[in-house]
């Protein structure tokens, strides 16, 4: 049935972290159709409107097709040779004048494992700094941090098939039918077969309609919800004492702490009825197998990493980890947000989260790369921007990330980009960020490159090119290798498969990984030297000293922002089904026809009080910024809260986000922002008027 196309290539989707395997059909040099691979382990023959349809961006007329060099207020096209010379010259000059640590790089969670590993080697070996980070900093870094502390490894404990094997599940701070549609569909089907689903979110998400219970906490009080659930588990004899004794440490302190979080007290903090907390705890703990799924509604908070620890506590108390059906499944936002961090595109770790200060590990890399390596931690993304504003950081190499659109505290980010002496951007389109670049390198989209992505189940899957990069654009892998060579460090690989062989050789956790072994079915790390992979972690023991899971006695603390008289509503941000993050890709496809604007969801009570009717233009002001958008009055959101997405540059939702961030990982608090919402008056505000009839 595929003969009518010029080529058919099986690859892995480049949108969210579900990792759908796709068949990309090309004709006349462009992708004309994408269908789901029937044998895709995560998608099993299904995909969503992003993976299936939103591919025309790859041949959008405004793709970057030639290197651009700043020329006064604009850019001029340049040859690759001149551009690489300029980059190598400037980076060498800055390194000579200010030291290697005056340079920083950002790898991309959208790019392949091999691209990220190459970027890590470029920064560490060719330039000589650990100033390297990736966009998982602003989404799931708290998950990674907490899972490592509690269980040992930085990834989901199981697979999406655990949803089918579970009797009950809790989803907290995620909206899978919009953010991860294929997993959302899987969960929905499971509920119709009897899965008892509890949703915890300030918004009533679509899956709440299919669940048995919906809890709507005040934004920023997730910790209290988890502590309240743990209280009920302990109080009502639902603790798995045998599991706790045999396989964990630290429960005694937790037991003392959770005693305080009675349903009544939890209700005071979270505004969730105490009876609902009790019911949810029983649903989860009494199921033979139960899983917990979460998203950025958990992590993007001041105490996001602590809430992940509390989720782990609950699983440890009930012994619900390490078996099919009992899994902890963080829903990773981007296609390779798992892999980019696994590959060591972080300021403090090499591959598989091994510290840059670890002498033995650092030596193994020094030996392979043939250069001395720094043992000092580098800058995280927020630290990079601070250092740029301070003048300590002089140059950045940003690859596949639009920080000026997606990072919090936009004004600060722009000030940082403005104060750099030299900025290299490598992307497929001009973005808000490339406006500040000195050089823009035309790169490749996922449909144009080869390598691997690692999905939210820790599954490494092959990426294969369906079409060529347009014009002079090159693959990211090739660009990074070329820049490195110009800086005097030849990585010596011909293909991404060669890079993966090096990764496997240097990383015991990926010892058995090769492109050939990954094949059509993928490999879930850790992968032993003989190629055995690990769909379910921690079946016998945890990957920590002594093999024991670690409880964490962490109390609830107030979020970084709170409603007050001036800013009486709490804004939560999130995704819509039709679009993806900054919308760089999806806004250049027919998905824009399906959804062409952002809006602000507001409860009818708040809307009536503020004289806001459905469709009315509103101003949203926070302590740091102001935007305008359209109001949509809906009961899916609770009174006191408002919700909007962040897909449209014309709205620029992130202007509202301040610099409050997770205490352990500096992941920004995108999910709790106090705002003031008002209708944008068409007449001067002092004109006498009656409330609109629709509201009375």
């Amino acid at each position: 049935m595929s003969e009518r196309f010029d080529s058919n290539v099986t690859t892995t989707c480049g949108y969210c972290g579900v990792g759908c395997r796709l068949e990309a059909h090309a004709h006349g040099g462009r992708v004309v159709s994408i269908s789901p691979a029937l044998d895709g382990p995560a998608n099993e023959g299904h995909t969503c409107l992003k993976g299936r349809f939103a591919h025309q961006f790859s041949r959008s007329r405004d793709r970057l097709t030639a290197p651009l060099i700043r020329d006064g207020g604009g850019f001029r096209e340049a040859s690759w040779e001149d551009t690489i010379d300029l980059i190598a010259g400037e980076l060498s000059r800055i390194k000579a004048e200010h030291g290697a640590d005056a340079i920083a790089g950002l790898a991309s969670s959208r790019a392949t494992n091999e691209d990220c590993y190459a970027m890590s080697r470029l920064m560490r070996a060719a330039i000589g700094t650990n100033n390297l980070d990736n966009c998982s900093r602003v989404c799931h870094s708290p998950t990674s941090f907490a899972l490592r502390k509690a269980f040992g490894l930085s990834g989901a404990t199981g697979s999406f098939t655990d949803i089918d094997a579970a009797g009950a599940a809790i989803i907290i701070g995620a909206n899978p039918t919009e953010g991860h549609p294929v997993v959302g569909a899987r969960i929905k089907q499971a509920t119709m077969r009897g899965l008892k689903l509890v949703t915890i979110d300030p918004r009533r998400i679509e899956l709440s309609d299919y669940g048995v219970l919906h809890l709507s906490p005040r934004p920023g009080t997730n910790a209290a919800v988890m502590l309240g659930l743990a209280h009920v588990v302990a109080r009502d004899g639902l603790l798995d004492r045998d599991f706790v004794d045999r396989r964990t440490d630290g429960y005694d302190e937790v037991e003392a702490l959770i005693a305080l979080y009675t349903p009544e007290h939890t209700e005071e903090i979270t505004s969730i009825p105490g009876a609902d907390i009790e019911a949810a705890a029983h649903i989860y703990a009494e199921a033979q197998e139960a899983s917990i799924l979460w998203g950025l509604g958990v992590t993007e908070h001041k105490y996001g990493s602590e809430v992940v620890r509390l989720i782990c506590n609950l699983a440890l108390m009930t012994g619900k980890v390490g078996r099919p059906g009992s899994a902890l499944l963080p829903l990773r936002g981007q296609n390779n947000v798992q892999g980019s961090s696994d590959m060591g595109a972080l300021p403090d770790t090499y591959t598989a989260y091994r510290a840059v200060s670890d002498e033995e590990v650092a030596r193994s890399f020094e030996q392979c790369w043939g250069v001395p390596l720094s043992r000092q931690k580098g800058f995280t993304i927020p630290q990079m921007f601070n250092a740029a504003v301070d003048g300590r950081l002089k140059a950045m190499y940003i690859f596949g990330e639009d920080v000026a659109q997606t990072d919090p505290n936009t004004a600060h980010v722009i000030a940082a980009l403005d104060s750099l002496e030299f900025l290299v951007c490598q992307d497929i389109f001009e973005t808000e960020t490339t406006k500040y670049a000195d050089v823009i390198l035309p790169a490749s989209a996922f449909l144009e490159k080869s390598g691997t992505f690692t999905n939210a189940e820790r599954r490494m899957q092959l990426v294969a090119p369906a079409i060529d990069p347009p014009g002079e654009a090159r693959t990211d892998f090739e660009i990074i290798l070329t820049v490195s060579r110009a800086l005097g460090h030849d990585m010596g690989w011909r293909t991404p498969a060669d890079a993966m062989d090096e990764i496997a050789a240097l990383t015991p956790q990926y010892a058995g990984v090769s492109h050939e072994r990954i094949g059509r079915r993928g490999l879930q790390w850790p992968v032993a030297a003989d190629g055995t992979d690990s769909p379910t972690l921690y079946q016998e023991s945890f990957e920590l000293p002594g093999g024991r899971g670690q409880f964490a006695p962490l109390p609830y603390k107030e979020p970084g922002d709170a409603a007050d008289d001036e800013f009486p509503l709490i804004l939560v941000t999130g995704r819509r089904l039709q679009h993806y993050n900054a919308g760089t890709m999806t806004r250049r496809t027919g998905n824009l026809e399906l959804l062409d604007r952002d809006w602000l969801e507001i409860h009818p009570d708040d809307a009536a009080r503020l004289w806001i009717s459905d469709g009315r233009r509103v101003s949203v002001r926070s302590r740091v910024g102001r935007i305008e958008t359209e109001a949509r009055v809906t009961e899916r959101i609770d009174p006191g809260h408002v919700f909007t997405a962040f897909h449209f540059p014309e709205v620029r939702t992130n202007l509202l986000i301040g610099s409050s961030a997770d205490v352990n990982t500096s992941c920004p608090e995108y999910k709790v922002v106090a705002v003031d919402v008002r209708p944008v008056a068409e007449q001067p505000a002092y004109t006498p008027a009656l409330a609109e009839p629709a509201l009375s």
Partner: protein, 210 residues
Amino acid sequence: MQVTIDGNSVEVSSETTVLEAIRSLGGDVPTLCFDQRQAPFGACRVCLVGVEGAPGPIPACTTPCRDGMTIDTGDATARRVVKAVVELVLSELPDPPAEHTELAVVARGLGVGEPRWTGRRHEVRHDQRHPYLAFQHELCISCGRCVRACDEVQGAFALTATGRGFDANVAAGLDAGFRNSTCVSCGACADTCPTDAIIEITLLQMSDVP
């Protein structure tokens, strides 16, 4: 338990359908309403096979294996009925189905050419109001795959079987197009459709340009 297919014995579990048993031996029978992502439906009668002792051919997709069952995929009655069924399906279409479609592949495999029956044919009715998905209602053979994909794979419940007899067809919501329904644009319907009655618009455009 054990079943025998065209003279070959195979061990199967009690959950196995006759179709699964046949395919596990590397054999095949044609299907139109079957999709491995959906529960068996048994609507098209194209997977009919002979079973020893049965009064007539049985559908392989919905029939569970019984211990000792003897199955004949080449059963003469079954083959005759299947060819007639496919010929009748084709006779309702205004034009032969596009060569790449499952319906065309099944027809070719059975050696069914131009249908012998003349009579009423479906009127051409197209709907291209969605940016990606188009209806070509005249090609609908009421196999139900799109409706089941929408229900059982995606869970959007946007598609409905409409009409009766010759007028049986499919509609999104109240037949006001995908965008005026609960459709989430996942495209599972177009992916499963064996006739291109629901098709991606880019593919329509591709076939316009030879």
